[in-house]
Amino acid sequence: MVADKPSSAHARESGHPALGQELGPRFRGDERGKSIGSATRLRLAGFARTLRDNGFRVGLAETRDALSILASPVAMRPSSMKAALRALFCATHSDWEKFDAIFEAFWRGRDMRSARSLTGAAIGDKGAPRKVAEAGASQAPGLADQVPRGADGDNAGGRGRREGASTAENIATTDMRHIVDPDDIAKAHALAARLARSMRARLIRREQMRRRGRRLDLRRTIHRSVAYGGTPVELAWRQRKVKPLRLVVLLDASGSMSLYTAFFVRFLHGVVDAFREAEAFVFHTRLAHVSPSLRDRDVARAVDKLSLMAQGIGGGTRIGESLATFNRWHARRVINSRTAVMIVSDGYDTGEPEKLGAEMARLRRRCRRIVWLNPLIGWRDYAPSARGMQAALPYVDLFAPAHNIESLAALEPYLARI
């Protein structure tokens, strides 16, 4: 693929004759009348845009550097040009894995033998390469059976063996499904808020200077001692800095959870209210970001709004896909290293468990702790046997019951520690 004579203005400038050849005769035809220099620029901009469409974080600096790569000796060979652009444009392992397919489709669309729907369509069309990525993605799963787990059926089985909810008088031990009295609901809400407050702060290991603390800050002590002739009169200390924990709650509002949704919506409101940094999401078959609606100071209105959003959903839960949406679109913004993610769900997933497992693994890498609250744990003989639950468990730091207020209150010491 090495050209023997300079084939373009751009190539002449840079002294590397292969450029025009590498990029193919296709665009000399397309961009008739312009110099290859600007054609290359356009083409490269298209490639950068395609990458962006595929979730790459490509900025102007990268595009500019890519231009200089194209004008450099590595562009003489397609394989090394690809390697160079890959090193430049990729920022994560998933980028790394997607890159080859996108590159092939964009720069060498015609040569792709394995391309399915897009042979021939990839030329200069920014939509086409995206299909490659999608086709690749949807091809991977598909082995697992898609049979919806009859959520209602499972529930009906469970309802008969729930733990002594009806005999208990105390609201704390009453299964939340049975709390109907407004006063009780208010109590539940208050508890949720208290819980939320108890886990608000965590110590971080970085230290800062303090007037009192557990370790001497030598640097500052010496600096201050100069004025006293080297005698450390004023001591400076270092102490661990306390930083607020950020909490992200993902609430399952599917049919199988419907009995608990009302309570947890209250809990969500308490959380968003009490935490300086909290985000709430509700999911069933899709994921919805609900923090804005929850910020309504009027509890009743906020809860009503949210209940409406959470309502009217049948047809199973897609936990894996909802998590994928979360990881793809929200995680980067709402998660940092001192974020705990709390998932409230019964784990009945109608999607593939593999997908759920993979998304849990991705989430695990991003956040500090994952807490999974499962209302079903409170039921006698419950074992987390739902396949989705099984797939998710290895990534969960705290797996706890949440079927009544007592069980939630019992969480307090654990939550305070995460």
């Binding site: 450099s72 590595v74 090394s80 890959r86 920022a91 640097r219």
Partner: protein
Amino acid sequence: MAPLMNRETISDRLAAAGYIADRDLATALWLMEFLKRPLLLEGEAGVGKTEVAKALAAVHGAELIRLQCYEGLDQNAALYEWNYQRQLLAIKAREGAGENADAIEEHIFSERYLLERPLLAAIRREKPPVLLVDEVDRADEEFEAFLLELLSDFQVSIPELGTITATSIPRVVLTSNGTRELSDALRRRCLYHYVDFPDVDREAKIILTRLPGIDTSLALQVARMVDAVRREDLRKVPGVAETLDWAATLAGLEVQDLRQEPEAVYETMICLLKTHEDRSRLTREVTERLLGKVA
């Protein structure tokens, strides 16, 4: 400035330094020079990410300065520290000589009392060194932000001393094991290379380079066997260092052919398998089955 080394030279010198690189890595290392960007290496533990930095230092004949990150790493440990003992002595001595406090302060906060830590050392060398920021994902976000600033400006300010600008721009290699997601800004700043376990041929070459006395066919068998072991469902997948240990052990036991001595293979597999779970998973039977496949 030295002329840009081309990709083939980098490949050759890597090999001379005992690092068997794939072509793409050589391209990435070349690109580091060409674009003056840091290189971020990701990959599973044990694939030889740290080795890349060592080899890069050898390629350029540069010094390797290493900063190992950990949770709670702060600027004191990474950038600079004052030599307190000497400062205290100097204060006493100068006070005795009747100097005033301002003069003493000026004196004890001078270069003589400054202890360089890796990051400061890396930007104050005459000849650009290779700076390895190892396991950057273990440090916290504040440190990452600070690192990013250093990597774009190549200057730091020390309150008592003023701004220190880089004498030379180091070649920076960052490694991450992916225990925490790195910030987009840092990723954007860096070139990226995903280091995978070497394929059989490359691993055999690595064994031959590192253990020069070893028999070629044994090296190939070991590489194949390790490749098969990695495909098993293990908790801790053996890395290249483990492969080398194992190959050295087998060579030391004068094993010629793995198939002939399944017992020795089974017993020495402790070089590869570092958890009880993995050890009990690869039973004698499984080992023999794998041996049958690789031979």
